[in-house]
Amino acid sequence: MNVIVCVKQVIDPEAPPASFKIDSAKNKVTLPPGVSPVVDPYAEYAVEAALRIKDAQGGKITALSLGANLLRDVVRKPLSMGADELILLEDEAFTEGDSWSTAYALAMAIKKVGDYDLILCGRQASDWDAGQVGSGIAEILGLPSVTLAQKIDITDGKARVERVTDDGYEVVEVSLPALITVSNEIGEPRYPTIKGVVVAKRKEPVVWKPADIGVESSQIGAAGQRTRLLKLFQPVREGKCEIVEGESPEEAAVNLALKLREAKAL
């Protein structure tokens, strides 16, 4: 089984909400001070899913990240978890893309890799929360896709996928090669082992530029967008929490109940 996993580098989604600021002139998030970028947590679930498949039947895992200024210590994480190879699509031209231009570049890179049975993506990326790139890659490559997987079993050239639905899950069988997007229900991603980190450090990522995957710069990054970001903002909070007090926690609790009654919330 050859598996390709698409992994994005993002601003840490678990940075404290209060540290989150926007530069409205540039329509961009300013990096919270002291908070390092991370591997997108959803993509980490995809890496975990790939590793479980490899654990069960062997094979090779290739991680693929697209961006600019990718921090080697960050994007190496799939390697230190147990992936075999890392390919970076790293160039300014790739950046500021939307789902379209990103999926297109990733799909062309996957075509160049060529030898794969399965492509895994996160259900969405934790920055734009779009959830489109996976389906987009599948459509561009003409592959079947199953989204929102919480479990993947491979048998006889087919994947049996538990797909999360609004009120439970369904079991879907798909022929390979296929693209599957992975949801957090798959379970905690493993931690890199010390040996994993050492091995990862020795592996140099392969870096591809637009020309290496045969794409025109008009089709990728900002130039290839089909959606336009008009505005990025933080909605104003009324920000008025009435703290209900009391001599003791119990009394505060009673006062809270009275307060809610008064406000007709009870």
Partner: protein, 332 residues
């Protein structure tokens, strides 16, 4: 060349009825269609869905396209994308809206790529820009830390809409509409997936998404036993229990109770948040609640930036006293 015109919604069917999200989409679609002075149509896909046509009209559709085919019994990407592609090419709507459900999340992006246009997912607001006449698509991003407004200049403009973000119209059975049948024309061999089984994980009692009161607990609850106390309060208030992701991941409550970006979206009258910090990923799932009440021992917890009322204290002391007072007040 024919012109793209009108608003189309993808009507989801659940247990033989129009799904709640469908009535919300119809309400939103009606408003956009009226703003543009154009028609609103709904597309219903499935097997034996014809009986729902009148309901779609009563909730606002001018036209309903029905694609009834046994091969559409289960949602499958290949078959649904192919039929929707056909419907869009035939009807040529300017705008296509779907629900941000397990179906809409799968269908919308793939359909957009097939049609060469783009989608915005998980929108909480859609409005027509008076100048360009494009839809302004507002969606939470960065886990709820920010919102973004997108436009798309290619047609149809596709958006999925978050549950509870839009209001349905009053049902009006006197409304008249037109019904048009579209043939699915599916080639079974082009459907590359097979649905083997569907498992519903039902939770007893009032459904979280429909409850008027939600009592949610976080990591600070500590164990499954702690959640029994939340259940007790929920029961008294005729509400449901919700939870943060760590509480679900720890197995204290089933995954189905998770509220947030990757869980359920709720908008009750009263949301009681107990021993949870109020992360943006959690709050995005309950920010539409009318009253948010926080009980947390940390006065600096983010939840106090989001809540309307709060008590700073140990929930183990606060909650029992609160529950018994509520019980007393409700008995009056």
């Amino acid at each position: 060349m024919a012109e793209y015109k009108g608003v189309m919604i993808y009507g989801e069917v659940k247990e033989g009825k129009l799904a709640v999200i469908t009535t919300e989409l119809l309400g939103c679609g009606r408003r956009l269609a009226d703003d543009l002075g154009q028609e609103l149509c709904a597309v219903l896909l499935g097997s034996n869905v014809s009986s729902l046509v009148q309901e779609a009209i009563a909730f606002g559709a001018d036209k309903v396209y029905v694609v009834d085919d046994p091969l559409l019994k289960d949602y499958q990407t290949d078959s649904y994308v192919s039929v929707m592609e056909k419907a869009v090419r035939q009807v040529m709507p300017q705008i296509l809206i779907l629900g941000q459900t397990s179906i809409g999340r799968d269908l919308a992006p793939r359909l957009a790529f097939r049609l060469g246009t783009a989608a915005s997912t998980d929108c909480i607001e859609l409005a027509i820009d008076p100048d360009s006449k494009l839809i302004l698509q507002t969606k939470p991003v960065y886990g709820g830390n920010a919102q973004a407004i997108f436009t798309c200049e290619s047609y149809p403009q596709i958006a999925t809409v978050r549950a509870k973000a839009m209001s349905p119209l009053e049902r009006d059975d006197s409304r008249q509409g037109e019904v048009i049948t579209i043939e699915a024309d599916l080639d079974p061999s082009a459907i590359r997936t097979k649905v083997l089984e569907k498992v519903r994980e039902e939770v007893e009692g009032i459904k979280l998404e429909e409850a008027e009161v939600v009592v949610s607990g976080g990591r600070g609850i500590g164990d499954a036993d702690g959640f029994k106390q939340l259940e007790e309060l929920a029961k008294i208030l005729e509400g449901a229990v919700g939870a943060t992701r760590p509480a679900c991941d720890n197995g204290w409550v089933p995954d189905a109770l998770q509220v947030g970006l990757t869980g359920k979206i709720v908008a009750p009258t009263l949301y009681i948040a107990v021993a949870l910090s109020g992360s943006s990923q959690h709050m995005t799932g309950c920010a539409g609640s009318k009253n948010i009440v926080a009980i947390n021992k940390d006065p600096e917890a983010n939840i106090f930036r989001e809540a309307h009322f709060g008590v700073v204290g140990d929930w183990k002391k606060v909650l029992p006293a609160f529950t018994s007072k509520v019980k007393e007040l409700l008995a009056e």
